[in-house]
């Protein structure tokens, strides 16, 4: 999966929880999920569970804690979906 595809899927998953639609419309890798998009921190669990379903991955607590921006989410998903060498 390429970065653009992952970013698009992440945007679709997060969209229902976004409170700041202006920031969402201009979202980049650096956009912070809680601070910039206004997502309720309690919804991060829902988002992580949706990542697991959408991408067929398991996200441990440590990995989940590292996701602050959309770019962090993309990197985590690309890493976990990369074929084993």
């Amino acid at each position: 999966m390429d970065t653009k595809t992952a970013f698009g899927k992440i945007i679709s998953i997060i969209k229902p929880f976004v409170k700041n639609t202006t920031a969402f419309g201009a979202a980049t890798d650096g956009t912070r999920i809680i601070e910039d998009l206004g997502v309720n921190s309690a919804r991060l669990v829902d988002i992580i569970l949706a990542f697991e379903d959408e991408f067929g991955i398991e996200v441990d607590d440590e990995s989940a804690d590292r996701v602050r921006t959309l770019g962090d989410a993309v990197q985590m998903i690309l890493q976990k979906t990369a074929p084993a060498l």
């Binding site: 309720n40 309690a42 991060l44 669990v45 569970l49």
Partner: protein, 154 residues
Amino acid sequence: MVGVRLTPAQVLELMPQQRPFRFVDEILEVDGQRIAGRYTFRKDEWFYAGHFPGRPITPGVILLESMCQVGVVAMGIYLFALERSVEEARAWTTLFVEAESEFLKSVLPGETVTIRGEQIFWRRNKLRARIEMFAADGTLVAQTTASGLGVRNG
């Protein structure tokens, strides 16, 4: 530190909510997936005077609170104790974060309701449950899918 399976009475004893804002009299059964509880709305509950004067009906938000006290708070206490310890169950409070609810029937002063909850997920201190409330004759009164997030007592 080893988790423990609390009895229904122990779960009730650990609930932080107290009268006049406790809407659970008894936990009937609980395991990691399901829970049942019961509450009788006293005729002198504080909210009946205003909701509504001369025609008391239990507010929907109170029915929701009762459902969440059983299906989210009590279930959360059980899960914290099961996965960690009784001390941890005491050290955390489950705060209400979201719900989608439907109310089908009025509950009047003096009525006893039974609440049944089933866990949808328990992850990173967040518990989501599908919860239903039944009247004494078994009629469905209300249902909700509600979530709570455990926060450490500060």
